[in-house]
């Protein structure tokens, strides 16, 4: 399948955090693209940089963050070089975000209706039209009795309903890109299913692109078209969802899949684990970033840092020397 035209392209992005104990190199040479109309999943264990990456797509980074290199190309503009004013125009209009905790985005002292009209401040529609648009979007995300809930405050809603509100607000302006950082992690499993199915339907109706951050492999397998696997601040593997799940090529991806208990059908006494810990990102070790925990590490992994090598199948790359022609030939 030919790759769809990219909506957003992150190239060579590196980001440091200033901390009392030195610079923490949270993202290093990150490269990936979000094609138009597709859902890209970002997976990896906690601390590997998923949220930092997701937030930097909107340049929504904390004060101690320092973007040291890279570009984020979105609809022909480099997000990293935009002025504050243009950035504010993009945020919430062309790119929206949904967070793990819905209260991050909701104003607790303002009614839902008011918050939804305010989001449409740039629109030339009449207030009656704005109200209709708000009600319609609330209905689409599954808020029962939407019209009568416009006067309610966020605390009148359950956790699952609040996340639906956030999704409604994020999509109200028909953005080209929705960035969702673990939107279902705090929800119960049966509610997660509802929200995922709803997101899937909305995305195909609206035709927007989605960046979906999750550490839940089952959800990513079900929802996403493409997958980016992160480890310790690097993209170690990326490709179409079937490639990644059926032919994981980086030893980290393989290990991550192996220890997902959802994948193990036979009852076992000993579940696979990934021994060892994440490296210290203040003092990034040389060589391959996964070498200390990699069961397949060899001499070269100590000395050199692997580039993304093409794995089997189209558009599938992994940062592992085992895919390098030289090693394969040897």
């Amino acid at each position: 399948m030919p790759q769809a035209e990219p909506l957003l392209t992150v190239s060579d992005l590196s980001l440091d955090f200033g901390t009392p104990r030195g610079r923490l190199h949270a993202l290093r040479n990150v490269h990936f693209a979000v094609p138009k109309g597709r859902i890209v999943g970002i997976v990896g264990e906690s601390g590997c940089g998923k949220s930092t990456l997701a937030h930097s797509l909107m340049r929504l980074v904390p004060g101690n963050a320092d973007i040291v290199a890279g570009t984020i190309d979105f609809e022909g503009e480099n997000i990293l070089e935009l002025g504050e004013r243009r950035l504010r125009e993009l945020r919430g209009q062309r790119i929206s975000m949904v967070f793990q905790d819905p209260m991050t985005a909701l104003n607790p002292v303002t009614t839902i209706g008011r918050q939804m009209y305010e989001i449409q401040y740039r629109s030339k529609r009449s207030s009656a039209e704005k109200r209709t648009a708000a009600i319609e979007m609330l209905e689409r995300v599954g808020i029962p009795d939407a019209a009568s809930r416009l006067d309610a405050y966020p605390h009148h809603f359950s956790g699952g309903m609040r996340q639906r509100l956030c999704i409604a607000m994020a999509l109200l302006t028909r953005p080209a890109l929705l960035v969702a950082d673990e939107p279902t992690t705090a929800l119960d499993a049966t509610l997660e299913v509802q929200i995922i199915n709803m997101l899937k339907d909305l995305q195909s109706d609206l035709g927007c692109s989605v960046v979906f951050v999750s550490h839940h492999l089952g959800t990513v397998a079900e929802l996403c078209d493409d997958v980016v696997v992160m480890y310790a601040g690097e993209v170690v593997e990326k490709g179409p969802v079937r490639e990644i799940f059926h032919r994981p090529s980086h030893p980290y991806t393989q290990a991550l899949f192996e220890c997902d208990p959802g994948r193990i059908k036979e009852k076992t006494r000993e579940l696979p684990t990934i021994p060892g810990e994440l490296p210290d990102l203040r003092n990034v070790p040389g060589g391959c970033i996964f070498k200390a925990r990699c069961p397949k590490a060899f001499g070269r992994c100590e000395r050199e840092h692997p580039e993304p090598y093409v794995a089997e199948g189209e558009d599938h790359v992994a940062r592992c020397f085992l895919l390098d022609e030289e090693e394969v030939a040897a």
């Binding site: 049966t190 997902d260 208990p261």
Partner: protein, 326 residues
Amino acid sequence: MSALLEVEDLRVRFRTIGSLRARIRGVEDPFIDAVCGVSFSIREGETLGLVGESGSGKSTIARALIGLNPVADGSIRFDGREIAGLGERQYGALRREMSMMWQDPVGSLSPRLTVRSLVTEPFRIHGVKGRDLDEEASRLLTMVGLGPDFASRFPHQLSGGQARRVGVARALALDPKLVIADEPTAGLDVSVQAEVLNLLGDLQRRLGVAILVITHNLNVVRHITDRMAIMYLGRFVEQGPTEDVFFHPRHPYTEALLSANPEPDPDAAKERIEISGEVPSLLDRPKGCEFHTRCLYAQDDCRRVAPGVTRESETHRYTCHHPLSE
């Protein structure tokens, strides 16, 4: 083997608002039954999993077992003795035999205590004298795979998995007969979760301790429990041998939970079963079968008549008028 713990018809009620406010607002019954007629048993050395979504009453059961929640009704027999309604002093002694591993065992404790103090605190709480606490700390830390060197560390120097191991060591300090682990792996990454589950399984086999594992995550019970129970609105809707329940669920809610926990495979193709709506309020329990507001198979009788318990076998039971077929 005899039952170590036998719970019958347990009911735990909480008052939700004060009586004056209730009268003002015209609420007739300001109580909720957070746990409502629950029966189960655990034999020595056995592992039982308690699964349900948040608010279903799992932690309330745990707290009732160790005397931290009032028991409104029903009986709890531990080691042949009725313990429901015992006083705080008698419970103090019981908590040596029945120890609790809280959700975030280290985060909830003082950040200024060393790991040595954390794991040996049970000896002090229960006034166990004549033990060399350094030796006990080494023994316990070795048992959970950390090693004696960890004794001098502080909580912030521990990774998520190490902190849970310290929690396990603490729970096992006084050689209990039953460990109650409330969400032992919540918030952990899968690789670390697997580590903690392996440890619990291993200790259970080596020490023969019985374990009650409470979790909202089916993956947690799958590999380490002998039997499991599924909770909804404070009741058990199904219980049975773990493999039976996984492969032959009879209750529609069990089916929905299992389906919400899919195999990570983009070609698994089978659409996930989606049940609509959210969990109803405990203040307003649905009539008839309490799951009927969300059940995909609900019929007229479900809305009128509460289903009784059906015994599929000696150990596998469920409450449903129209159970799933094999």
